[in-house]
């Protein structure tokens, strides 16, 4: 990270969760700006100009979706949603409004940090073409078109590789179905995301050699996929 500690605005009404988020993030060299309500969060966002926002969707005063819309009127800063499992519609709506990613309650610290890192990184740099991406036991050499899992080479078809490459160049970040379709199959197929599911399944078949240990591709129903090691430890 470039010199200064990144500032994270945490908008969360539950004091316990706010506390453990503060401790976790502070100990990983982030500066935490806590906000209890949506209104306070919006105000702080304008005055402090954080590097990223961690937003709980279940706020007491205003709808989380409203916070996103307000922030998006003037800023492109990464917004991470913290949402409950049984509120998928809210999650999808938040994503449509411009949220970048989310963690589902209850979440582990590893997962949270990985998402945050991915969001911040994507905001600053895009990964160079010649990088080697490592996700857990999966290793992808983007320039040499080589993929290995625990040093076992994996043979992928060109389309499968193209798909993995898109996922790998945004490792840790949630990519929408639409984005993936467009990047791999071009504009014509954007709406038809059933191919995508079949290709992802084929990739899993080849990459996730030991189903109990390897879950490199994470499915976010209704939204998209991300490439991420389990527990978020990259």
């Amino acid at each position: 990270m470039s010199g200064l500690q990144p500032k994270i605005l945490v908008i969360e009404d539950d004091p316990q969760i706010r506390k453990f988020l503060t401790i976790t993030l502070t100990s990983h060299d982030y500066t935490v700006i806590p906000a209890e309500t949506g209104r306070e969060g919006v105000r702080l966002a304008t005055s402090v100009k954080p590097d990223a926002v961690l937003l709980d969707l279940g706020l007491p005063d205003i709808d989380g979706a409203e916070v996103i819309s307000v922030l998006r009127t003037w800023s492109k800063m990464p917004i991470l949603i913290v949402s409950a499992r049984d509120h998928e519609d809210e999650k999808i709506k938040a994503f449509d409004l411009g949220a970048n990613d989310f963690v589902t309650k209850p979440f582990g610290t590893g997962e949270l940090l990985a998402r945050l890192r991915a969001a911040l990184r994507d905001a600053i740099v895009t990964i160079a073409e010649d990088t080697v991406v490592k996700v857990g036991d999966l290793c992808i050499d983007l320039s040499a078109h080589k993929v290995t899992v625990r040093d076992n080479p994996v043979k992928l078809s060109p389309k499968e590789f193209a798909l993995l490459k898109v996922l790998a160049s945004h490792a840790g970040k949630l990519l929408t179905h639409k984005y993936l379709m467009q990047k791999v199959w071009g504009d014509a197929h954007v709406e038809d995301n059933q191919y995508l599911r079949i290709y992802i399944a084929q990739l899993r078949q080849k990459l996730e050699l030991d189903p109990a240990r390897d879950q490199f591709i994470v499915n976010e129903p209704g939204i998209g996929y991300r490439l991420e090691a389990a527990g978020g430890s990259e």
């Binding site: 316990q16 506390k19 209850p106 290709y199 030991d210 189903p211």
Partner: protein, 505 residues
């Protein structure tokens, strides 16, 4: 309703009736003799107008007609006319119809007594009917009094049985249609039961059987059991009016049934309100602290020494188990409240991978195999619900299987849908328990194994599969060991996809 009808067997002919008739005949004879004796005495004492004594011979006939049956009245007419002839028409103590005067006297008396007896018995019948009408009105009133205000079907039946018992002076029982499936009442009932709605059925069976309600919507059956040796006279009071009373009872029963159904509906609504209140309090008061606990323990994990890390990791496992339980509980309440979340195409491989990722902390040395038939369709279901089914089944396979077990997840296409088998090699589920394990909170291995659980997992699997017209069942394991859980889904929720023809390599 039809008026009560009656079988030949039920005709009054018992000894009691014969006995009474003899007595009445004797009484009539006695009264005729008295009148004859009195007339004779008066004439002997020099009564001035023997002729006028003839009117006395109408009296026994009048009495017989007023108090006895018509045939006894006619019998008395014969006796009276004969006695008149013997005593009042000379020569004394002989029948004399030879002269026209004597014949005329006898004929006049005959006509008078016949008319009198006809009139008197008609009068008697009318009085009796009036009495009966009054009685039945009283009975109806009392029955209504008993039935009014009874809200439960049971109370109505009990009150009706009691009142009808008092009216008919014999034990009475109501068999409700809903109870007829009950074996006890059926055996008590069927041997002589005859299907004749709204009619008496008598004969060999001394009991009186009466249908409650109309033939097309029968509510039940009324059964009167007479005492030993007693017979039911259907045309006599009060049996003649039983159909009216039965109608009243049927009305009260159907009214109580409506009241009961309404009460049940209200109770159900109350329960649902309670459930949703519990649901929201669960999500708030349970889930939020769990997020804090799990987050805090995760943070701790990387900061403590090796000994403490073990403890923290145990705490984390437990907290995650509690979280799965809360998820199950919340989902059960939502399903039971009729919530049906949105569907979207789900690939079985995505679902299994996600579930294994969630269960990762639980997985030890088990080996997993995922076999998916090529061309396996996408499933149009709600992703979280479908994940929950797999999660519970795979969690069971891990929990109830050996530490180094093999767990196979196999997905296949069949002519009418798809099958997904989850096969482990633990102890399996004994065949007689294979249905029971799906009941709410049922646990087969109660106590004897130290495996945590609440018995909700399989119940919720079944609830979710029901939403998609699918099934979940414990089947005979194809490999002969362990448990094999089979999910099946009908083809109308599958979305076949063409495997894209890829550019050749």
């Amino acid at each position: 309703m039809h008026p009560p009808r009656f079988d030949a067997h039920a005709t009054p002919g018992s000894r009691f009736f014969a006995y009474a008739t003899w007595w009445q005949a004797l009484l009539s004879l006695a009264s005729v003799l008295t009148v004859a004796g009195l007339s004779y005495g008066l004439i002997a004492a020099g009564f001035p107008s023997p002729e006028s004594l003839g009117i006395l011979f109408v009296l026994p006939v009048l009495c017989a007609a007023a108090f006895f049956e018509l045939r006894l009245a006619l019998f008395t007419v014969v006796l009276s006319v004969a006695a008149y002839n013997l005593v009042l028409i000379p020569p004394l103590w002989t029948f004399n119809l030879n002269n026209p005067q004597a014949l005329a006297k006898v004929v006049v008396l005959l006509i008078v007594t016949l008319v009198v007896s006809a009139l008197a018995s008609r009068l008697k019948r009318m009085t009796r009917e009036g009495q009966a009408r009054e009685d039945i009105l009283t009975d109806l009133y009392l029955l209504n009094q008993d039935l009014v205000g009874k809200t439960s079907v049971k109370d109505v039946c009990e009150a009706a049985e009691q009142r009808l018992g008092v009216i008919t002076r014999m034990p009475c029982r109501i068999f409700l249609e809903s109870e007829m499936s009950d074996i006890r009442s059926k055996t008590e009932f069927t041997p002589h039961f005859q299907e004749r709605p709204g009619q008496w059925s008598a004969g060999v069976d001394p009991r009186l059987i009466l249908q409650l309600g109309e033939a097309d919507s029968r509510l039940g059956t009324l059964v009167f059991t007479p005492q030993e040796g007693e017979r039911i006279v259907a045309e006599s009071f009060p049996f003649r009016f039983l159909p009216t009373l039965a109608g009243q009872v049927a009305l009260a029963i159907s009214r109580a049934m409506i009241t009961e159904a309404h009460a049940a509906q209200t109770r159900q609504a109350d329960r649902e309100r309670f459930m949703s209140a519990m649901l929201s309090s669960l999500s708030h008061d349970f889930k939020t602290p769990l997020v804090g606990i799990i987050g805090a323990l995760e943070t701790l994990q990387s900061r403590v020494d090796a000994d403490a890390r073990d403890l923290v990791s145990d705490g984390l496992t437990e907290a995650q188990r509690l979280n799965r339980f809360v998820v199950n509980l919340v989902e059960v309440s939502r399903l039971e409240a009729g919530v049906r979340p949105k569907c979207e195409p789900v690939h079985i491989r995505d679902a299994v991978s996600g579930v294994l990722r969630t269960l990762r902390p639980l997985i030890g040395m088990q080996t997993f195999r995922i076999i998916i038939e090529p061309g396996f369709p996408l499933l149009n279901v709600n992703p979280s619900l479908f994940d929950l089914v797999l999660l519970n089944l795979i969690e069971n396979a891990i929990k109830y299987g050996p530490l180094e077990g093999d767990i196979t997840i196999e997905a296949r296409v069949t002519p009418d849908g798809v099958l997904i088998d989850i096969d482990d090699d633990g102890d399996g589920i004994p065949t007689p328990l294979r249905e029971q394990v799906f009941t709410k909170f049922y646990r087969a291995a109660e106590g004897d194994r130290k495996i945590a659980g609440t018995g909700l997992g399989l119940y919720i699997c079944r609830e979710i599969m029901n939403v998609y017209a699918g099934t979940v069942a414990a089947i005979d394991p194809p490999d002969g060991t362990g448990a094999c859980m089979r999910l099946s889904l009908p083809s109308d929720i599958t979305l076949p996809v063409l495997v894209p023809q890829e550019e050749a390599e």
